[in-house]
């Protein structure tokens, strides 16, 4: 039981950097990527903050050498950039050499273009190319095409904010069961007026920097990002003599079955997800060295997650922090972003700080790690929870 699946490559683009190294530099420097909205035309510009990626669509399009007729949504652009980095970092030169799949996650898909041209579509033929780019699978198809994955297992998961964690989980299971030799897993979500207004109506957006696990937290900042990992079978790792970055050691998925958007007060689903992940990994709670928490900084999530962590870890809760103060909540991509951060934590034996924290929560006496901390890390647990009661936990480890 508990043999991990090898991670041989990773790529990321987020509000704190356009590649893995830039993200790492920002993480250790405590540099946030949260700012006022500049790229989306919304009336909420003044009253909310987001984690935007500075690079424009046009810049990505020219970087990738796409034709002017392309119908890439920003989700597809971000996803393709990050996935290509992951494949390059895994040293893959011939993607067709092994049976390779792509499991990608998204929640907004092509909504950024749909909302821009919705009423214009019937009359403006020039923008009609984006109609078919709306559905969630479209960005995944494009990423597969960019990677040269043909005749492969290519699919998309959308379970709100837990999506990318689930993509990692499904990918790991496909490798473990021998269905695939190699799989690119992760997620991409761009910002859109649709999600900004959606979260605004739920009244869970902060008007300032988000403050995970703080008593006076005011809600989340949305962010845009994409990140992907390359998972490979032991046989491929051996045959190619591949350096392994870390392992997907365990995973667990459960449903809170409590409310369509809110988490149960005691975090039933979150508790189950963490327990299952430990079981799959063959680990005890004491074996976890650091938790990269979901920590969205909403009143509901941090309370529910904190209680669930206490339920699982008792009075021996390891260091934990949420990195959402850096990137914002990147929705379907979050699980992949935080997977990359978990792997960086393992590689550098470093716990990244939970920024903006001032006042411990009254509900419990655990508090996040607030400064950059060196610690010998063997295992990192990463949580991702979402609407629809979806709760997911992935455990990353240094050793198989």
């Amino acid at each position: 039981m508990g043999k991990g699946v090898a991670i041989t490559g990773m790529g990321i683009v987020s509000a704190i950097g356009n590649n893995v190294d830039e993200n790492y530099q920002s993480l250790i420097a405590g540099k946030k990527g949260i700012s006022r909205i500049s790229k989306i035309d919304t009336i909420h510009k003044g009253d909310i903050m987001v984690g935007e990626i500075a690079t424009t669509n046009q810049e990505f399009i020219s970087q990738m050498g796409l034709s002017p007729e392309n119908n890439y949504s920003r989700t597809a652009l971000l996803g393709a950039v990050a996935a290509k980095q992951a494949v390059n970092s895994a040293g893959i030169t011939d993607i067709t050499k092994y049976k390779t799949g792509l499991i990608s996650a998204t929640s907004v898909g092509g909504m950024d273009m749909t909302e821009k041209y919705y009423y214009e579509y019937p009359t403006n033929t020039a923008v009609q190319k984006y109609i078919d780019g709306h559905h969630a699978g479209d960005s995944t198809q494009k990423i597969a095409e960019q990677l040269g994955i043909l005749k492969g297992v290519v699919t998309t998961i959308s379970t709100a904010c837990s999506s990318a964690a689930n993509a990692i989980m499904f990918g790991a299971r496909l490798i473990k069961s021998g269905q695939l030799d190699r799989v690119v897993v992760g997620g991409a979500d761009c910002l859109s007026m649709f999600t900004i207004n959606g979260f605004k109506t739920l009244m869970i957006l902060s008007d300032t920097y988000n403050t995970p696990f703080d008593e006076h937290r005011k809600g989340l900042n949305l962010g845009e990002a994409a990140a992907y990992l390359v998972l490979e079978s032991d046989a491929v790792v051996k045959a190619e003599n591949k350096p392994v970055l870390a392992y997907v050691k365990g995973y667990g998925n459960a449903n809170d079955a409590f409310h369509q958007t809110a988490s149960s007060e005691n975090g039933d689903g979150a508790t189950l997800a963490m327990e299952k992940a430990l079981e799959v990994a063959g680990l005890e709670p004491k074996d976890i060295d650091y938790i990269n928490a979901h920590g969205t900084a909403t009143g509901n999530n941090d309370l529910s997650e904190g209680r669930a962590i206490i339920r699982v870890f008792g009075d021996a809760v390891p260091e934990f922090s949420s990195t959402k103060a850096y990137t914002g909540h990147t929705l379907a991509a979050a699980g992949a972003i935080e997977a990359v951060y978990s792997i960086l934590a393992l590689q550098h034996n470093t716990i990244f700080p939970n920024l903006n924290f001032k006042m411990p929560m009254e509900a419990f006496d655990i508090r996040p790690e607030v400064s950059l901390k060196s610690k010998e890390l063997h295992t990192v647990m990463s949580n991702s929870f979402g609407f629809g009661g979806n709760c997911s936990t992935v455990i990353f480890s240094k050793e198989a």
Binding site: P122, I131, L150, K151, V153, V154, T155
Partner: protein, 354 residues
């Protein structure tokens, strides 16, 4: 590795399929571009107040799930895995037009909450109080097959005993209008029962929900056994016969062993050529079945094809309306399904009598 059985079905479609005692005994014909569903009495399954609040996709998904659970004689399942191409599209449209029409003001969260793709899966979990594994796959015409692959993997490894899987999609009026503009929907209403012979581009769209309990334990209610499912993001016509043959031989069977091939033809002259490649190639001597003239085309329409397959195997019957050629059918033991949409996201599924 354990075998994976189809232990129950629950279907809401453009035909009267919600009654599991029937198998297309009466066929509804339509002269439309977009087919509605034949609604069951939703109030028999959900309280009227709750039903009123639910989006169509949620309502169809929840009720088809409940029918499938009843058919399986189960109160609960270990996991719920949903496939949906577009999620609750009407709520997405509603929220988006509210944003645009009211310049981002006076918005309420209900339609936003229901617009997320995993709403149906989440609502089914709430209804069944199922805290187990819950995934939603949203990849065009392989959304349902992805859900099936996932469930099959877990059942084979005995990580779960009973898993509810399903495909659900609803029609959104504005989006359908856009798909007419770009020619994905046929330009004129057509007699749907004749649509497979249509010489025009585009498809007749539909909506529906088809749910199934898959299990690694066979019982007297079992419909069939899923031997294998494979998905491909791309596949060219020239590779199709070879890939189908390779898929079959990996499962120890050949084309001659296939008693019925279930094809996803939708009457789109531009893309039905994929099906013809198999129908005139590897399976030219095999009884052929089509079903999208009964349910319409949608991202999870292949879940209706899977429903047809399950019913065929269990009832050992092949309603005339499904037949695409007239080769005699004796015993139905092995069935191969093939589906794609607009030349992408192909799937092969092999189902066997049990």
């Amino acid at each position: 590795m354990k075998n994976v059985y189809i232990n129950s079905v629950g279907s809401i479609s453009a035909q009267k399929t919600y009654d599991n005692n029937e198998f297309l005994s009466e066929v509804v014909s339509y002269q439309e571009q977009i087919l509605p569903v034949v609604d069951p009495n939703y109030k028999d399954y959900i309280p009227p107040a709750a039903a009123r609040r639910m989006a169509k996709g949620i309502k169809m998904g929840v009720v088809a799930s409940k029918i499938a659970l009843q058919d399986a004689g189960l109160e609960e399942v270990d996991a719920i895995i949903t496939g949906t191409g577009m999620g609750c599209l009407r709520d997405s449209e509603k929220f988006l037009s509210a944003i645009l029409d009211n310049k981002e003001q006076y918005l309420t969260p209900t339609s936003f909450i229901q617009s997320t793709h995993n709403t149906v899966g989440g609502q089914i979990a709430l209804e069944l109080q199922c805290k187990g594994y819950n995934f939603t796959y949203v990849h065009s015409s392989v959304s349902f097959e992805s859900a099936m692959m996932d469930a099959k993997l877990q059942l084979e490894l005995d990580e779960a005993k009973n898993i509810l899987i399903g495909g659900v999609d609803e029609i959104g009026e504005y989006t359908a209008g856009l798909h007419k503009i770009i020619g994905h929907i046929k330009p004129e209403a057509e007699d749907v029962l004749q649509v497979l012979q249509s010489k025009t581009k585009g498809a007749i769209y539909g909506e529906g929900a088809n749910f199934f309990v898959l299990s690694n334990e066979r019982n007297e209610n079992s419909y069939g056994k899923i031997k294998s499912v494979s998905i491909f993001n791309t596949l060219s016509k020239s590779e199709l016969n070879n890939e189908a043959e390779a898929f079959l031989s990996a499962n120890g069977v050949s084309a001659e062993d296939i008693d019925v091939v279930v094809l996803g033809n939708n009457g789109d002259v531009e893309f039905d050529g994929y099906y013809e490649t198999l129908a005139n190639g590897l399976f030219q001597n095999t009884p052929q079945v089509c079903y999208k003239h009964l349910c319409g085309e949608f991202n999870t329409a292949s879940s209706f094809g899977f429903w047809v397959t399950a019913k065929m195997l269990k009832n050992q019957a092949l309603p005339e309306v499904l037949r695409f050629n007239d080769f005699p059918v004796k015993e139905i033991k092995q069935v191969l399904l093939y589906n794609q949409y607009r030349g992408e996201n192909h799937s092969f599924t092999l189902v066997e009598q049990c």
